[in-house]
Symmetry: C2
Subunit: 131 residues, 2 copies
DNA sequence: CTAAATGCAAATCATTTGCAAAGAG
DNA sequence: CTCTTTGCAAATGATTTGCATTTAG
Protein backbone atom coordinates (compact mmCIF):
# COMPACT_ATOMS: atom_id res chain seq x y z
CA UNK A 1 0.00 0.00 0.00
CA UNK A 2 2.46 2.55 -1.26
CA UNK A 3 -0.09 5.33 -1.44
CA UNK A 4 -0.77 5.09 2.26
CA UNK A 5 2.90 4.92 3.18
CA UNK A 6 3.45 7.95 1.04
CA UNK A 7 0.62 9.80 2.60
CA UNK A 8 1.71 9.02 6.13
CA UNK A 9 5.20 10.18 5.37
CA UNK A 10 4.01 13.44 3.92
CA UNK A 11 1.58 14.16 6.72
CA UNK A 12 3.80 12.99 9.53
CA UNK A 13 1.33 10.25 10.36
CA UNK A 14 2.43 6.87 11.53
CA UNK A 15 1.63 3.95 9.33
CA UNK A 16 -0.49 1.81 11.56
CA UNK A 17 -2.39 -1.35 10.89
CA UNK A 18 -5.57 0.48 11.78
CA UNK A 19 -5.23 3.06 9.05
CA UNK A 20 -4.55 0.27 6.58
CA UNK A 21 -7.65 -1.59 7.66
CA UNK A 22 -9.96 1.40 7.44
CA UNK A 23 -8.66 2.40 4.05
CA UNK A 24 -8.88 -1.15 2.80
CA UNK A 25 -12.48 -1.41 3.90
CA UNK A 26 -13.35 1.75 2.06
CA UNK A 27 -11.48 0.67 -1.03
CA UNK A 28 -13.23 -2.63 -1.27
CA UNK A 29 -16.64 -1.30 -0.28
CA UNK A 30 -19.28 -1.01 -2.93
CA UNK A 31 -21.38 1.19 -0.68
CA UNK A 32 -20.71 4.26 1.45
CA UNK A 33 -20.48 3.00 5.02
CA UNK A 34 -20.78 5.16 8.12
CA UNK A 35 -18.27 5.08 10.96
CA UNK A 36 -20.17 2.47 12.95
CA UNK A 37 -20.43 0.23 9.93
CA UNK A 38 -16.75 0.62 9.15
CA UNK A 39 -16.00 -0.29 12.73
CA UNK A 40 -18.28 -3.30 12.49
CA UNK A 41 -16.42 -4.51 9.42
CA UNK A 42 -13.00 -3.70 10.86
CA UNK A 43 -13.72 -5.34 14.18
CA UNK A 44 -14.42 -8.57 12.36
CA UNK A 45 -11.06 -10.16 12.89
CA UNK A 46 -9.25 -7.21 14.43
CA UNK A 47 -9.05 -5.49 17.76
CA UNK A 48 -10.02 -1.90 17.05
CA UNK A 49 -12.04 0.62 19.01
CA UNK A 50 -14.82 2.76 17.63
CA UNK A 51 -12.98 5.89 18.74
CA UNK A 52 -10.00 4.83 16.67
CA UNK A 53 -12.20 4.44 13.63
CA UNK A 54 -13.53 7.95 14.14
CA UNK A 55 -10.06 9.33 14.66
CA UNK A 56 -8.75 7.54 11.62
CA UNK A 57 -11.61 8.72 9.46
CA UNK A 58 -10.99 12.26 10.63
CA UNK A 59 -7.28 12.23 9.95
CA UNK A 60 -7.70 10.61 6.56
CA UNK A 61 -10.38 13.14 5.71
CA UNK A 62 -8.17 15.99 6.85
CA UNK A 63 -5.39 14.51 4.77
CA UNK A 64 -7.64 14.63 1.75
CA UNK A 65 -7.78 10.87 1.24
CA UNK A 66 -11.43 10.56 2.15
CA UNK A 67 -14.51 12.63 1.55
CA UNK A 68 -17.48 12.87 3.82
CA UNK A 69 -20.80 12.13 2.22
CA UNK A 70 -23.44 13.75 4.32
CA UNK A 71 -26.88 12.40 3.64
CA UNK A 72 -29.73 13.54 5.78
CA UNK A 73 -30.02 10.46 7.96
CA UNK A 74 -27.80 11.66 10.73
CA UNK A 75 -24.75 9.53 10.03
CA UNK A 76 -21.76 10.69 8.10
CA UNK A 77 -20.66 8.37 5.36
CA UNK A 78 -17.24 8.13 3.80
CA UNK A 79 -15.75 7.45 0.42
CA UNK A 80 -12.38 7.71 -1.23
CA UNK A 81 -11.80 11.27 -2.32
CA UNK A 82 -11.71 11.68 -6.02
CA UNK A 83 -12.77 13.79 -8.86
CA UNK A 84 -15.66 16.08 -8.23
CA UNK A 85 -18.25 15.35 -10.81
CA UNK A 86 -21.95 15.83 -11.31
CA UNK A 87 -24.49 13.16 -10.50
CA UNK A 88 -27.94 12.73 -11.84
CA UNK A 89 -30.35 10.81 -9.69
CA UNK A 90 -33.40 9.18 -11.20
CA UNK A 91 -36.09 10.07 -8.73
CA UNK A 92 -38.28 7.14 -9.74
CA UNK A 93 -35.73 4.36 -9.65
CA UNK A 94 -33.05 5.77 -7.35
CA UNK A 95 -30.48 5.05 -10.02
CA UNK A 96 -27.45 7.31 -9.92
CA UNK A 97 -25.60 8.34 -13.05
CA UNK A 98 -22.14 9.79 -12.56
CA UNK A 99 -21.73 12.22 -15.40
CA UNK A 100 -18.59 13.39 -17.05
CA UNK A 101 -19.62 16.83 -18.11
CA UNK A 102 -16.68 19.04 -18.81
CA UNK A 103 -18.69 22.04 -19.73
CA UNK A 104 -20.56 21.99 -16.45
CA UNK A 105 -17.38 21.44 -14.48
CA UNK A 106 -15.72 24.36 -16.18
CA UNK A 107 -18.65 26.68 -15.63
CA UNK A 108 -18.83 25.70 -11.99
CA UNK A 109 -15.17 26.42 -11.55
CA UNK A 110 -15.47 29.73 -13.35
CA UNK A 111 -18.39 30.74 -11.21
CA UNK A 112 -16.44 30.15 -8.03
CA UNK A 113 -13.49 32.04 -9.40
CA UNK A 114 -15.59 35.00 -10.40
CA UNK A 115 -16.86 35.15 -6.84
CA UNK A 116 -13.35 35.37 -5.54
CA UNK A 117 -12.97 31.79 -4.36
CA UNK A 118 -10.66 29.01 -5.27
CA UNK A 119 -12.79 25.94 -5.88
CA UNK A 120 -11.83 23.11 -3.56
CA UNK A 121 -14.49 20.75 -4.84
CA UNK A 122 -18.15 20.60 -5.58
CA UNK A 123 -21.11 18.31 -5.55
CA UNK A 124 -23.84 18.61 -8.10
CA UNK A 125 -26.81 16.37 -7.70
CA UNK A 126 -29.56 16.61 -10.23
CA UNK A 127 -32.91 14.98 -9.65
CA UNK A 128 -34.76 13.92 -12.72
CA UNK A 129 -37.44 11.66 -14.11
CA UNK A 130 -37.73 9.93 -17.44
CA UNK A 131 -40.74 11.51 -19.16
CA UNK B 1 -50.16 34.01 5.48
CA UNK B 2 -52.63 32.27 3.26
CA UNK B 3 -50.15 29.66 2.11
CA UNK B 4 -49.65 28.42 5.64
CA UNK B 5 -53.35 28.39 6.42
CA UNK B 6 -53.86 26.43 3.26
CA UNK B 7 -51.16 23.98 4.12
CA UNK B 8 -52.44 23.43 7.63
CA UNK B 9 -55.91 22.82 6.33
CA UNK B 10 -54.72 20.31 3.77
CA UNK B 11 -52.44 18.48 6.18
CA UNK B 12 -54.76 18.57 9.16
CA UNK B 13 -52.28 20.68 11.07
CA UNK B 14 -53.34 23.42 13.41
CA UNK B 15 -52.39 26.91 12.53
CA UNK B 16 -50.31 28.01 15.46
CA UNK B 17 -48.31 31.11 16.11
CA UNK B 18 -45.19 28.95 16.34
CA UNK B 19 -45.46 27.61 12.82
CA UNK B 20 -45.96 31.15 11.58
CA UNK B 21 -42.88 32.34 13.39
CA UNK B 22 -40.61 29.57 12.15
CA UNK B 23 -41.75 29.98 8.58
CA UNK B 24 -41.42 33.73 8.77
CA UNK B 25 -37.86 33.43 10.02
CA UNK B 26 -36.96 31.16 7.15
CA UNK B 27 -38.67 33.42 4.65
CA UNK B 28 -36.84 36.49 5.77
CA UNK B 29 -33.51 34.76 6.32
CA UNK B 30 -30.71 35.43 3.90
CA UNK B 31 -28.78 32.46 5.20
CA UNK B 32 -29.62 28.84 5.96
CA UNK B 33 -30.02 28.64 9.71
CA UNK B 34 -29.90 25.47 11.76
CA UNK B 35 -32.56 24.56 14.31
CA UNK B 36 -30.71 26.15 17.20
CA UNK B 37 -30.25 29.35 15.28
CA UNK B 38 -33.90 29.41 14.27
CA UNK B 39 -34.79 28.93 17.88
CA UNK B 40 -32.46 31.73 18.89
CA UNK B 41 -34.13 34.07 16.45
CA UNK B 42 -37.62 32.91 17.33
CA UNK B 43 -37.04 33.13 21.04
CA UNK B 44 -36.19 36.80 20.62
CA UNK B 45 -39.55 38.19 21.58
CA UNK B 46 -41.48 34.94 21.81
CA UNK B 47 -41.87 32.09 24.24
CA UNK B 48 -40.94 29.02 22.25
CA UNK B 49 -39.07 25.87 23.19
CA UNK B 50 -36.28 24.31 21.20
CA UNK B 51 -38.22 21.07 20.95
CA UNK B 52 -41.06 22.93 19.34
CA UNK B 53 -38.73 24.35 16.75
CA UNK B 54 -37.48 20.88 15.93
CA UNK B 55 -41.00 19.51 15.76
CA UNK B 56 -42.14 22.37 13.59
CA UNK B 57 -39.19 21.99 11.25
CA UNK B 58 -39.92 18.29 10.97
CA UNK B 59 -43.58 18.71 10.22
CA UNK B 60 -42.98 21.49 7.72
CA UNK B 61 -40.31 19.39 6.05
CA UNK B 62 -42.63 16.39 5.94
CA UNK B 63 -45.29 18.65 4.47
CA UNK B 64 -42.89 19.62 1.73
CA UNK B 65 -42.63 23.26 2.71
CA UNK B 66 -39.02 23.07 3.82
CA UNK B 67 -35.94 21.28 2.61
CA UNK B 68 -33.09 20.07 4.72
CA UNK B 69 -29.64 21.19 3.72
CA UNK B 70 -27.17 18.76 5.16
CA UNK B 71 -23.65 20.06 5.33
CA UNK B 72 -20.95 18.14 7.05
CA UNK B 73 -20.75 20.26 10.15
CA UNK B 74 -23.18 18.23 12.18
CA UNK B 75 -26.15 20.55 12.09
CA UNK B 76 -29.02 20.34 9.68
CA UNK B 77 -29.93 23.55 7.99
CA UNK B 78 -33.27 24.48 6.50
CA UNK B 79 -34.58 26.47 3.60
CA UNK B 80 -37.86 26.97 1.81
CA UNK B 81 -38.47 24.09 -0.54
CA UNK B 82 -38.61 24.56 -4.24
CA UNK B 83 -35.77 26.93 -4.68
CA UNK B 84 -33.19 24.92 -6.58
CA UNK B 85 -30.13 27.06 -6.75
CA UNK B 86 -26.41 26.69 -6.45
CA UNK B 87 -24.60 27.23 -3.19
CA UNK B 88 -21.02 28.08 -2.57
CA UNK B 89 -19.67 27.15 0.82
CA UNK B 90 -16.60 28.79 2.25
CA UNK B 91 -14.68 25.85 3.60
CA UNK B 92 -12.76 27.99 6.07
CA UNK B 93 -15.58 29.96 7.61
CA UNK B 94 -18.59 27.79 6.90
CA UNK B 95 -20.29 30.76 5.33
CA UNK B 96 -22.82 29.84 2.70
CA UNK B 97 -23.59 31.93 -0.32
CA UNK B 98 -26.77 31.13 -2.15
CA UNK B 99 -26.05 32.10 -5.71
CA UNK B 100 -28.41 33.21 -8.33
CA UNK B 101 -26.62 31.98 -11.37
CA UNK B 102 -28.90 31.72 -14.31
CA UNK B 103 -26.27 30.44 -16.65
CA UNK B 104 -25.41 27.54 -14.40
CA UNK B 105 -29.06 26.74 -13.81
CA UNK B 106 -29.73 26.71 -17.51
CA UNK B 107 -26.78 24.51 -18.28
CA UNK B 108 -27.75 22.08 -15.58
CA UNK B 109 -31.25 21.88 -16.92
CA UNK B 110 -29.99 21.42 -20.46
CA UNK B 111 -27.66 18.67 -19.36
CA UNK B 112 -30.48 16.72 -17.78
CA UNK B 113 -32.62 17.21 -20.84
CA UNK B 114 -29.91 16.03 -23.17
CA UNK B 115 -29.67 12.87 -21.08
CA UNK B 116 -33.33 12.21 -21.58
CA UNK B 117 -34.55 13.35 -18.18
CA UNK B 118 -36.92 16.00 -17.04
CA UNK B 119 -35.18 17.93 -14.29
CA UNK B 120 -37.16 17.81 -11.06
CA UNK B 121 -34.62 19.75 -9.03
CA UNK B 122 -30.96 19.88 -8.29
CA UNK B 123 -28.48 20.77 -5.63
CA UNK B 124 -25.14 22.20 -6.47
CA UNK B 125 -22.75 22.74 -3.62
CA UNK B 126 -19.41 24.24 -4.34
CA UNK B 127 -16.67 24.23 -1.74
CA UNK B 128 -14.19 27.04 -1.94
CA UNK B 129 -11.62 29.04 -0.07
CA UNK B 130 -10.66 32.66 -0.30
CA UNK B 131 -7.10 32.71 -1.65
C1' DC C 1 13.50 6.38 23.91
C1' DT C 2 9.64 9.81 22.49
C1' DA C 3 5.86 11.39 20.30
C1' DA C 4 1.89 9.62 18.07
C1' DA C 5 -1.83 6.29 18.31
C1' DT C 6 -5.09 3.41 20.87
C1' DG C 7 -8.86 1.61 24.03
C1' DC C 8 -12.13 2.60 27.14
C1' DA C 9 -15.23 5.32 29.43
C1' DA C 10 -16.99 9.69 30.22
C1' DA C 11 -18.28 13.97 27.92
C1' DT C 12 -20.53 16.64 24.10
C1' DC C 13 -23.75 18.02 20.77
C1' DA C 14 -27.67 17.65 17.90
C1' DT C 15 -32.06 15.79 17.82
C1' DT C 16 -36.03 13.10 19.70
C1' DT C 17 -39.44 11.70 23.01
C1' DG C 18 -42.58 11.13 27.35
C1' DC C 19 -45.80 13.43 29.84
C1' DA C 20 -48.67 16.80 31.92
C1' DA C 21 -50.39 21.43 30.83
C1' DA C 22 -52.09 24.87 27.32
C1' DG C 23 -54.39 25.99 23.04
C1' DA C 24 -56.91 25.45 18.44
C1' DG C 25 -61.10 24.25 16.22
C1' DC D 1 -64.90 19.50 24.83
C1' DT D 2 -61.44 16.78 22.06
C1' DC D 3 -57.38 16.29 19.93
C1' DT D 4 -53.14 18.63 18.56
C1' DT D 5 -49.32 21.29 20.16
C1' DT D 6 -46.16 22.86 23.54
C1' DG D 7 -42.52 23.11 27.31
C1' DC D 8 -39.47 20.97 29.96
C1' DA D 9 -36.58 17.51 31.13
C1' DA D 10 -34.94 13.12 30.36
C1' DA D 11 -33.50 9.90 26.67
C1' DT D 12 -30.99 8.80 22.38
C1' DG D 13 -27.48 8.48 19.01
C1' DA D 14 -23.50 10.08 16.74
C1' DT D 15 -19.11 11.84 17.48
C1' DT D 16 -15.32 13.64 20.46
C1' DT D 17 -12.17 13.78 24.26
C1' DG D 18 -9.29 12.72 28.67
C1' DC D 19 -6.10 9.70 30.29
C1' DA D 20 -3.29 5.88 31.09
C1' DT D 21 -1.14 2.38 28.09
C1' DT D 22 0.87 0.67 23.83
C1' DT D 23 3.55 1.16 19.68
C1' DA D 24 5.90 3.03 15.34
C1' DG D 25 9.95 5.20 14.01
Amino acid sequence: MTELEDLCLRKGLRLTEHRRIVLEILDSATDHPCAREIHRRAADGHRIGLATVYRTLNSLTAAGVLTRLTLSDGRTRYERAGASHPHLIDVDTGEILALDEDELARLIEDTATSLGFRLVGYRLRMFGVKP
